[in-house]
Amino acid sequence: MTRSTSSARAALALLLLTGSLAVRSADDPAAWLERMADALERYDYEGTLVYVHDGEVEAMRVVRTHTAAGPREVLTSLTGERREMVREGASARFTLAGGRLVLSGVVPPVAPGESARPGAAEQYELAIVGRDRVAGHDSAVLDARPRDADRYGYRLWLDAESAMLLGSRVFGADGVPVEQLMFTELRLQSVEAPAATDPAAPEPAAASTAIPDWRASALPSGFRLVAIPPGDAGSQHLVYSDGLASLSLYIEPRMAGALPPAMTARRGAIGLVGHALDGYHVIVVGDLPATTLTRIAASVERVPGH
């Protein structure tokens, strides 16, 4: 066998091997999810979407571009009262209630938690279940079926080339959609220039060495502490994730005239449950069923020794 023949065979074997890997990757639903997360942050895009929740059908427009200050994202309601989110770099401005409430600020750096974001395959059965067409884009359809009744299920439509999210449907345990989101038109543009950094943005926070003073003993399996945002004195904000769903746990000193002792709220798949505990307000926010949020909130306790 000549050297050139041997080299050609080696090259062919390598080509077949990488091609095989590519095919497996193309059908690997976990890889699709990671590509989706990357596409949502990496691409410039502009589109109109429909959001269905709680018996309401709303339209929104989203525009994401990269500027000298970093990524700029604008999400605007097209129905009902004017509501808008504008993020540029670390700065954020939210206009709600037709302009009667405006909240703004620079999002502070968030210290990482005890764990990186877990893979969704641990808690969900992931599968590519077919192909479809959304907003004129060919798409792969990915199902994420929860392995228990503590969390929602998902069906995601992902652009066949970029894996950009084109649509999503969140299901309760009975299979009834809790919310649906679908682009009706979407233009994508890959960003070639490296993203600029916002000179006004604070440096990323160092890994936290603080041990949370509070914990929730009834977290669904697979939820890990992934972030500890800074809080005011005496308060704590802990963020958990199972890879697809996330929840925030707030523990804040009670003040007279503030939140009612016990409350629940819901907007699509996101829920909020709160109650009073030993002079504190315990608030749980997350895209989980209300019964799960309630159980989590009821299990909050101070870490012994803190």
């Binding site: 997360a37 309601s77 509501r83 709600l96 909240l103 503030a258 907007r267 829920g271 019964t291």
Partner: protein, 201 residues
């Protein structure tokens, strides 16, 4: 069982446009001398505006001053984190949707005039929720029952914002967490959602 209340019945008929000209004149003259009746009418009027999803409720001179006084006495103003503050425009007292309105009693020399807005009062969240319909709770009924907008609570909104602002906590990142913030608040009876979830599970 509730006792018959002629004042309430008159107001109710006025709200429904069911009064004759003479009856209207009588109700308006009664309201002119009855502060409690006028206060109730004011609250019904605003509740109706909210239920009809009007984008703007009537405002009056001194509105901003009234709200700022409310904020100054609001101990929960400091609950929002330091980086998230109300910016410009108007602000709500945390935990209570307090709106300053002006409502006038009808003038005696214009008995046929429809009541317009004149005097300052303060509306609380419970005034808006007093007549919101409740529905039996089940998953499918939740989706088919009428949806009533809930008052904006800045504290609740700030919890949703802070949750959405934590980056990359799940694969559903980018603008997705903010869809819930920009979406219109609905489901006036939030406990209904909890019961629906229980019915599903």
């Amino acid at each position: 069982m509730n006792e018959s209340n002629p004042s309430l019945e008159g107001l109710s008929a006025l709200a429904d446009g069911e009064l004759s000209r003479d009856e209207l004149r009588f109700v308006l003259r009664t309201a002119a001398g009855d502060a409690q009746m006028r206060a109730r009418w004011q609250r019904w009027h605003v509740a109706r505006a909210a239920l009809n999803r009007r984008g703007e409720l009537p405002l009056a001179a001194g509105f901003a001053d009234a709200v700022m006084r409310e904020l100054a006495s609001d101990p929960a103003q400091s609950r929002r984190p330091a980086w998230l503050r109300t910016a410009g425009g108007l602000a709500f007292a945390a935990g209570v949707a307090a709106l300053a309105l002006t409502i006038v009693a009808p003038r005696e020399d214009a008995p046929d005039a429809v009541p317009t807005l004149a005097r300052t009062t303060v509306l609380r969240a419970e005034d808006l929720s007093a007549r919101l319909p409740t529905q039996p709770a089940s998953g499918r009924e939740l989706l088919s029952s009428p949806v009533v907008p809930i008052p904006i609570d800045p504290q609740v909104e700030s919890y949703l914002l802070r949750h959405a602002a934590v980056p990359a906590t799940s694969a559903r990142t980018g603008f997705l967490p903010y869809v819930h913030v920009v979406a219109s608040p609905t489901a006036a009876d939030p406990r209904r959602a909890a019961k629906a979830d229980a019915a599903r599970q």
